[in-house]
Symmetry: C2
Subunit: 436 residues, 2 copies
C-alpha cells in the first residue's frame, strides 16, 4: 500500500477502505507517513467528501489511536451532549445536573474557549478552586457520586485528533464536514458515552453559518454515529443572538444558578430542556419527549438538579460558599453600557460581534495560550424584541482595563441593531435529526 | 501574509496575486514554508485550477528561483520546441538541424526517458561519446557554430520545479494543467527562447489521453506563454501509435539519419515538418507555413540539415565515423519477432504497450536511476494499415537478455491488433492553437 495511491483514490472520488484509512492515519500518528501526504489527502477530502462508512472508519481509527475512558463497573446509561460552540452557551452546566438527577450518567468531556465561542471548562473554572483536570479515577468517582463529572481532553485521549487538527488548522482543511464529524465523534466515543445528543448551532455566532450547513453536519454526525453503533439525536439550534443574558465565565455560572432555581431566561431554558429531553429519550429513561420534560421539570422544581450542581462544584474543588457569596458582585472594575440612540426596539444582537467583544474583554481567547478572566464579560438588560427608551441600557460590559473596554465597546455597539418595528421572535429549535 | 490564508483563498476559488504566489513558492524554495502547506495548496490548485495570469505568475516565480541561460551577444531569433512526450518521438533530433539550417537558433534543453515515454538526451547519448551535459559556455558555442545545441537541465536551472515536481509526484497532484504548464514553461523560458512551439501529444501513448485534455493543456501553454510575452504555437498531434518504425535509443538515431537523407517514414516527416514550419513562422523567418515548408525541404534536399546534425554530434563529443559504421548493425544479441497469426491487416499498435515493452528491454526507465542501453528496442516492419501474411513479421524486439525479451514480447504481442478490415489512416496533426 502506498500513501500516494490512497490520496489519488480520494482525489478521484473513490471510497477508501478501513485498511486504507488506517494505513494513512496510523502511519501519520506513528511518524511513518509524512505530513505533506496527509495534508494533500485532507484537501482531497475537503473537495470530495467521505461517505458515512468512510467517516465511521476514520472515527474508529482515530478513537483507537489513544486510550479510552473505562466506565466498566458503573451502572449506565451513559449519555453526553456536545455543542458545536456558541456565544452565551452555558447549557452543559445546566443540563448535566438536570439529566443526572433523572438517572442518566453524564461523562462529560468539554473544551475551552477559542475565538468568538465560549468554553464550558473556562466557565466552570471561574468558580474559585474548581478544576476540570481530573484523573480517570476522579472522573469515575464524580460520575458515580453525582451522576456527572466535567473534565477536559487529556494528552492520551485520541492523539490522532490533536495531530490532524493542528495540521488542518494550517492547511485550510478545517471546514470539512466528515473531518469535523470524525474529530467530534472520536472524542465523544472515547469518553464512554453510549448515546449522544448534538447541539449543532447555526447562524453568525456558530461555526456553521447557515441552517443548510448545520444540517449537513448534523446528518453526518447522526449517520456516522449510527454506523458506529451509537444512539444519536441532533438538534439544530439558532445562534444568531447570544443565548441568555450573560456572556462571560462567572457571569454564566450565575445564570446557571438562576436557571437551576427557576429564574433563568426563557431562551436558555427552552434549549436546555429540549436537549435534556433528548438525552433522556436517547438513554431510554423516558419513552417520549413529553414524559422526559415532566421529569426534567420535576428535578428543577425539587431543586435536586441545583443540589447536584453544587455537589459537583464542591467535588471538583470549587469553594461553593465563596461562589454563592460572589454571585451578583464578581465584576471587573471598568464598565460601560451600550445604550439606545432613540426610543426603539432592539432588532438584532449579532452573536459573532458579541463573542469577539468578549474575547477583547478577556472572557475568551484568540489563541490557546491566552489567559481568561472570571469577572469580565457582558450582561444584557435587553434582548432583541425588547423596547428600549432613548439612552436606555441594552447591555453592560465589564473589563479589567480601559483599553480592553474601549475596543470591546466598539464591537458591542456595532453588534446591536435598533429599529422602529418589533422583530419576529427568534425560533430557537430549528430541526431535529435522529437515529435511535 | 500567511501561507494558510493563501491556501484557503485558492481552495475557495480565488485568483492569487503575484505577491501571494511568490510568498508561497519562494518561501518553499528557501525552506520557510513547510511542505505540508505547499501540498495542500497543490491539491487545491488541482481542484480549482489557475487563471492564465496566475499560471504566468507561477511560471515567472519558478523561472526566477534559479539562473537562466544568457544568450546575449548571439544573434537570434531563438526558438525551441517542446514535446509532452511520446513513443518513438525522435522529432527533436531531426527538426533542430532543419530549423537551424533555415537561420533560426535553437537552444534546446531536453529530458530523459521516464516511464513509457522516450527521452531526447538518451537517444543522443546512444551516439558513442556524445554528451548532453554541457557547460553554459559550450552550449553557447554550439548554438553559435551549428545554430543549435542539445543539453539537459542543470541543478541551477529552475530549482523550484524540481522541488515542486517531487512533491507533486508523492501527493497525487501531477495531473494539473496549470502546474504542468508552469513546469514546462519555466524551464523553456530559462533556456532563453523567445518563441516556442509545443507538440502536445494526445492518445494512449501520451500524458494527455484524450484530444480534449490535450487541448486544455495546449490552450494553457499558449495563453500563459502569451501572458509572459512569448510567441507561441501549439500543435496537438496523435500518439495512439508509436511514431516511425523505431523505438529505442540508437535505433531512433538511425531513423533520424534516414529522415535527414530523405528516406524517413512518412508519419515522422509529416509531424517534423509541421513543427519545423511553425518554428520558422514563430521566429519570423517565414511569412506563412507554405514558404516555411519549402525552406525546410530545401535544407533537407541540399543535405545541409544532415551536415549540421553531424557537426553537432561531433561538437558534443560524438564519434561520427563510429556512429555511421554502427548504423544498421548496432543490435543487442537476443531478438524475437511479433508475427501475424493469419493473413490480415495490422489494425492498431498501442503506443503505451510498446513504450512499456521498450522499458523492459532497457531502452527506457521505470525510475530515474535506471540505466538505459543504446542497442535495445523495437523495429517495425509493418504499421497499422499494412497488410501482413500469416506468420509474417510485424516488428522485432532486441534485448540484452532472455528474460527482458520474454517480458517485452508479452507486452508487444498484446499491443498489436489484427483484423480483416483495413483501418482508417491515422490523422497525425489534430489541431493548431497559436498566439503570435
Amino acid at each position: 500500500m502506498r500513501a500516494v495511491d490512497i490520496v489519488m483514490k480520494k482525489r478521484d472520488g473513490g471510497e477508501l477502505s478501513r485498511e486504507e484509512i488506517e494505513f494513512l492515519v496510523s502511519g501519520y500518528v506513528s511518524g511513518n507517513i509524512p505530513e505533506y501526504q496527509v495534508s494533500s489527502w485532507l484537501m482531497a477530502v475537503f473537495f470530495k467528501g467521505m461517505t458515512a462508512r468512510e467517516t465511521g472508519f476514520l472515527t474508529d481509527v482515530m478513537l483507537h489511536s489513544g486510550k479510552t475512558i473505562d466506565l466498566s463497573g458503573i451502572q449506565g446509561p451513559f449519555v453526553d451532549k456536545h455543542s458545536t460552540g456558541g456565544v452565551g452557551d452555558k447549557l452543559s452546566l445546566i443540563l448535566a445536573p438536570i439529566v443526572a438527577s433523572c438517572g442518566v450518567r453524564v461523562p462529560m468531556m468539554s473544551g475551552r474557549s477559542l475565538g468568538h465561542t465560549g468554553g464550558t471548562l473556562d466557565k466552570l473554572e471561574s468558580i474559585p478552586g474548581y478544576t476540570a483536570r481530573l484523573t480517570e479515577a476522579r472522573f469515575r468517582e464524580g460520575i458515580l457520586a453525582d451522576g456527572f463529572a466535567m473534565t477536559g481532553q487529556t494528552e492520551e485521549i485520541v492523539p490522532a485528533d490533536r495531530l490532524l487538527y493542528s495540521l488542518r488548522d494550517v492547511t485550510a482543511t478545517v471546514e470539512s464536514v466528515p473531518l469535523i464529524t470524525a474529530s467530534i465523534l472520536s472524542k465523544k466515543c472515547a469518553e464512554g458515552a453510549e448515546a449522544l445528543v448534538f447541539d449543532v448551532k447555526s447562524g453568525p455566532g456558530a461555526f456553521m453559518k447557515t441552517p443548510e450547513d448545520a444540517e449537513r453536519l448534523a446528518r453526518s454526525l447522526v449517520d456516522t454515529g449510527r454506523a458506529m453503533g451509537k444512539r444519536i439525536i441532533a438538534l439544530i439550534t439558532d445562534m444568531t443572538e447570544p443565548l441568555g443574558l450573560t456572556v462571560g465565565n462567572f457571569f454564566e455560572v450565575e445564570e446557571t444558578l438562576d436557571c437551576l432555581e427557576g429564574t433563568g431566561p426563557a431562551d436558555v431554558m427552552e434549549v436546555t430542556l429540549a436537549l435534556s429531553e433528548r438525552m433522556l429519550v436517547a438513554a431510554g429513561k423516558a419513552k417520549d419527549a413529553e414524559s422526559a420534560r415532566s421529569r426534567c421539570l420535576a428535578v428543577l422544581e425539587s431543586k435536586e438538579a441545583r443540589t447536584r450542581f453544587l455537589a459537583n462544584a464542591a467535588r471538583q474543588g470549587g469553594d461553593v460558599d465563596r461562589m454563592l457569596a460572589l454571585r451578583g458582585n464578581y465584576r471587573a472594575p471598568f464598565h460601560a453600557a451600550v445604550t439606545a440612540p432613540s426610543s426603539s426596539f432592539v432588532t438584532a444582537i449579532n452573536a459573532y460581534g458579541i463573542g469577539m467583544a468578549s474575547v477583547l474583554l478577556g472572557a475568551g481567547r484568540s489563541k490557546t495560550s491566552d489567559p481568561v478572566f472570571p469577572d469580565v464579560g457582558i450582561i444584557f438588560a435587553k434582548k432583541s424584541g425588547d423596547r428600549v427608551e432613548a439612552g436606555g441600557e441594552v447591555c453592560t460590559l465589564y473589563a479589567r482595563d480601559e483599553a480592553a473596554l474601549a475596543g470591546a465597546m466598539d464591537l458591542a455597539r456595532k453588534a446591536v441593531s435598533f429599529g422602529s418595528e418589533k422583530p419576529d421572535p427568534i425560533k430557537h429549535i430549528l430541526k431535529e435529526i435522529s437515529a435511535l
